[in-house]
Amino acid sequence: MSKALEAVMSYVPQSLQPFVLPTIQILIVFAGLSLLVAYLVYAERKILAHLQVRLGPMRVGPHGLLQPIADGLKLLLKEDIIPRGADKFLFWLAPIISVMAAFTGFALIPFANNFMITDVNVGLLFILGISSLGIYGIILGGWASNSHYPLLGALRSTAQLVSYEVALGFAIVSALLLGGTLSLRGIVEAQLEQGVWFAFVQPVAFFILFVAAIAETNRNPFDLPEAESELVAGFHTEYSGFRFSLYFLAEYTAMTLVSAIAVTLFLGGWLRPFPSVAWLDFLKYTPVALLLFAAYWCIVHGFRLPKGREWRWQRLILLALGGGAALLGAVLAIPAVADAVQGVFWFLLKVSLFLYAFIWFRGTFPRYRFDQLMRLGWHFMIPVAIANTIFCGAALVLWKKLEWSFVGTMWIGTLLTLLFALLLARERAD
């Protein structure tokens, strides 16, 4: 691996050499992420459909597996409409800002011990900063459309994003207090050192981060900016075709990004469950097991398809998928390869759990009213987040000065926060 890299490097001028590896990594992340997001949309449609006793996409490819590609092509080929009176430059710029902000955040995410684009010592702050840039995509898009519903949607969206960013920030602070660093890699390594994922010592912060993340990405039950029954489609009402697909891409990428942040800060990033327990090392073969299961499923269903010409392609694709999965599983079963990919695997697995939760919520919850949403943010989430930060800091001092058990002191802090939240909730109810 490294020899091949050196061979490539020798063709590159000296001054550009530091850029080669990051460029390759960026390309991998960008391509992988685009694909992931496309299939995230597919997964959302499929999961929602199954929650709602429907089948979802079934036509394009087996079980609609090629649907995202068809959708992408359709959106690309659509007529590009710019409303009359729109601010052309900003109308063009806004979706690009959204996409850029969503993708740039991934530059700082440590996907695995051995795979990250960069590790900055203020990584967390940068992610916050970049995600706050994403607001411009929304507010400028809403304004540039020169239409009422998008503008109102954009204003709502911005107010919501700015409000929940405060709670998000405070939730992140407790993670970095525990980690003692702003570097995302450092935070994951701190979780390895402490032997516990921070979600289990700071559940309140984790919860607040999760809720704020849903609000930040405008997902149900906080999807007011796009409340179909009130505001048509919110800030992107006037967008169509490829520009719309950029917003779409940005939304789902942002979802993935906040999930990745939550996983990194609170769920141990690339670490496997119980990373310090040696006899659980066999867990590194989990991807193999999953792939073999997928292969089994594909092959069995491929053979079970009804006979006939019209099913031939479906069967062929399913069998090819099954074969590919089996092959990949076999490759991953090589111990060296298993070691190399297991970080990425666990990271992606946790992220997809988060994404599943996002989709699940969309299928389950009604929508908050705008004032209720703001009240929840300002009157409940932010005070609780502040209290949690204070108690977390106090617990840290107790732990460091008195050398009590880490988990125990943290839980004292958490319990105090919960008590505070309870009192606050009771006061709100009165």
């Binding site: 203020v122 940068f126 706050s132 304004w143 954009a154």
Partner: protein, 167 residues
């Protein structure tokens, strides 16, 4: 090393050009966007100086916070009238005077710095990650001024809320 110099000039040029555009654009939203671009290139310049914390804070506070509120306000107030009005139409004298004074100051500074000894190249160890040092400086060495500043902001905030309440 040509690359850092290249990025520096690129960013500096962007900052200056968009700063000029901020005051020449008629459309306030466009002005705000060029201000954002100026702030962003400044943040990137900080980054080039290894002031990572400062760069991040510049982005979070100015771009992510203050400018969003700017845009918010611009979109909420009626702008079609403002667009057609010539800005600063009654303040030429004051503005000219202020600009002259500023120009003189700059000239003075440039003139003086010509004779100043050049600063030695900083050793690379100093330019290591300095976020922690900023924290220590703010919260230990200069705790009192820092807290006074935050209190001042709090007072401003309370005042603003009070004024809004009274209408």
């Amino acid at each position: 090393m040509a690359f850092p110099l290249l990025t520096f000039w690129l960013l500096a040029a962007t900052a200056v050009v968009s700063a000029v555009l901020v005051i020449t654009r008629r459309n306030p939203v466009h002005s705000a966007i060029f201000l954002i671009i100026t702030l962003l290139s400044l943040a990137l310049l900080y980054l080039q100086l290894s002031a990572e914390f400062l760069a991040a804070v510049q982005i979070i506070l100015y771009i992510g916070g203050i400018m969003v509120l700017f845009l918010f306000v611009i979109m909420l107030v009626r702008l079609d009238i403002v667009t057609y009005q010539a800005p600063f139409n009654r303040q030429w004298h004051v503005a000219g005077l202020a600009a002259l004074i500023l120009l003189a100051e700059f000239a003075l500074v440039f003139y003086r710095s010509r004779t100043l000894p050049t600063v030695a190249e900083a050793p690379p160890t100093i330019l290591q990650p300095n976020t922690e040092q900023i924290g220590v400086t703010l919260f230990q060495n200069y705790l009192l001024p820092f807290e006074i500043a935050s209190l001042l902001l709090l007072v401003a905030m309370v005042g603003a809320v009070l004024m809004a309440r009274r209408r």
